[in-house]
Amino acid sequence: MDLSVNVGGLRLKNPLILASGTAGYGVELLPFMDLNRLGGIVVKGLYPYPREGNPPPRVWETPCGLLNAIGLQGIGMEKFAREILPGLSKLDTAIFINACGEEDEEYVEVVKYFSSFDGVAGIELNLSCPNVREGGNCPALWPEWSYRIVKASREVTDKPIIAKLSPNTGSLVEVASACKEAGADAVSLVNTYLGMAVDFRTRRSRLSTLFAGLSGPAIKPLALRAVYMVASSVDIDVIGIGGITRGEDLLEFLLVGARAVQIGSITLREPSAGIRILEEAVQLLKEEGYNSFKEIIGRFEIV
């Protein structure tokens, strides 16, 4: 069985990647599984500087999902590079940076900084965090804004660039096209859906913010469609994200055109979920007579 997939110019040992934001800096999961078995890990979002994040409460459980408003608390790129990346780089799995910025220049600064690290397989541009700007605004809602950041990032790195997209726009396909035009090697989608939770007793938000981002199995049907929309209409590699909890979910994302997937919220519930999901997917593929993940990518048929 050939588990490898090709995405954004990279060959991954398998299509299962841990999504940014639910796997810490990777090391938090070492007690629970052999990270070498994963296709890749996207570490927590990094700014050029340490960042405090939003006040608590930062998380609220919803039916089959969770709302988060972490707000990209983080140790900053230099401390990460000094204290954590050297260890991560020794793993036999693809390590992806998740680059963030308040200003466009900050994204570029992070991209440039990590371009020289051999241990970094690629850079995901976090164009889509809904918890750091007023009203959930983010670059990935706007084709032009996304284009600008990807383009400027492209100019400072030869590493694969993955633009992480938001579902909270009526222009998803246009944003993906803009990222391709600007030189992105792949897009990953979806980031979280803007949602809200309130307490009728206190008459206030359940979180410290007004809006928050919904993830988890609740959103899977929506994410699957978003991935299909982009994969079927834009000529760019897609990494599927959204509510994957089982091997079958992984295969469904590949079927509609994703070349790899990221798992997020399920890791919070079940830290070793990545290995289980991968094993389940391999078993299902075998049962159906496939010899590789690649054989199923984009093979969805409209009746």
Binding site: F32, P55, G65, L268
Partner: protein, 246 residues
């Protein structure tokens, strides 16, 4: 810390809405103040695990005391002996071990980690408060620590022990440290009234419990700087000096 399965040996309502859950299994050793994340459902809803302070542990068993407050704990309360449940344990940092006599302070379900601590300490005084006698788990306390320690019970309505708030009945004594677990307002009030060294066990709303999501942060002072730290990794027990009360 490890993902492990436990088999329910007992899941008994010990007071209205309060349950004692004892699991059998091969659990990594813990120390008082550490916690575990329990998965209330095999289906996808509720989605997240719930954190519970460990109330006791020995060879082949671990024990929790919880109150039914929502969907997750309601499902937990329906677990029957023989059924299995997934947990991640132990998590976080526990209470420090300090020479001398300790003051143990528990409010409500804060009694769980405090009882575990009491079971390993030689010398202590226990201050334990609840809303009323029904919610005061006196039998639990007696069973765990026997009769040879001083215990001050407090209920808001005076239905058992002293009447009023726990923080109005802090015993006098030469304590080397106070260990405090309970609702945030109680702990804050205690911190304002108590001058000695103290450690506080926080109950923050958690995502994962093992440091991956940064949901459960608490603001602390470290090196002259205030910052958010994960209560699941750097806590749930914090030194009184470093806590920034809000």
């Amino acid at each position: 810390m490890k993902e492990v399965w436990g088999k329910v040996e007992e899941n008994r309502e010990i007071a209205p809405g309060y349950f004692a859950l004892k699991l059998e299994g091969d659990f990594p050793p813990s120390k008082p103040g550490q916690f575990a994340m329990l998965s209330p459902a095999s289906a996808l809803d509720p989605f997240l695990r719930r954190p519970f302070g460990i109330a006791g542990q020995g060879p082949g068993w671990i024990r929790f005391i919880y109150k039914v407050v929502g969907r997750g704990t309601a499902l937990l309360s329906r677990l029957k002996p023989g059924e299995s449940i997934s947990l991640i344990s132990p998590l976080g940092k526990g209470f420090s071990q300090v020479e001398g006599t300790s003051l143990l302070v528990a409010g409500g379900t804060g009694i769980a980690p405090i009882l575990y601590l009491a079971s390993v300490l030689e010398r202590f005084v226990l201050l334990y408060g609840a809303k009323n006698s029904e919610e005061l788990l006196v039998e639990e306390v007696k069973r765990t620590i026997g009769e040879k320690h001083r215990i001050v019970y407090v209920t808001e309505d005076g239905s058992f022990g002293e009447r009023g708030l726990l923080t109005e009945h802090i015993p006098e004594g030469n304590f080397s440290i106070a260990f405090v677990a309970g609702p945030y307002p109680m702990m804050k009030e205690f911190a304002g009234n108590y001058r000695g060294r103290a450690q506080f066990s926080f109950e923050a709303r958690m995502g994962c419990g093992f440091g991956a999501c940064y949901s459960c942060v608490v603001k602390v002072k470290k090196g002259g700087e205030e910052k958010y730290v994960r209560s699941c990794v750097e806590g749930p027990v914090f030194d009184g000096e470093e806590v920034v009360w809000i």
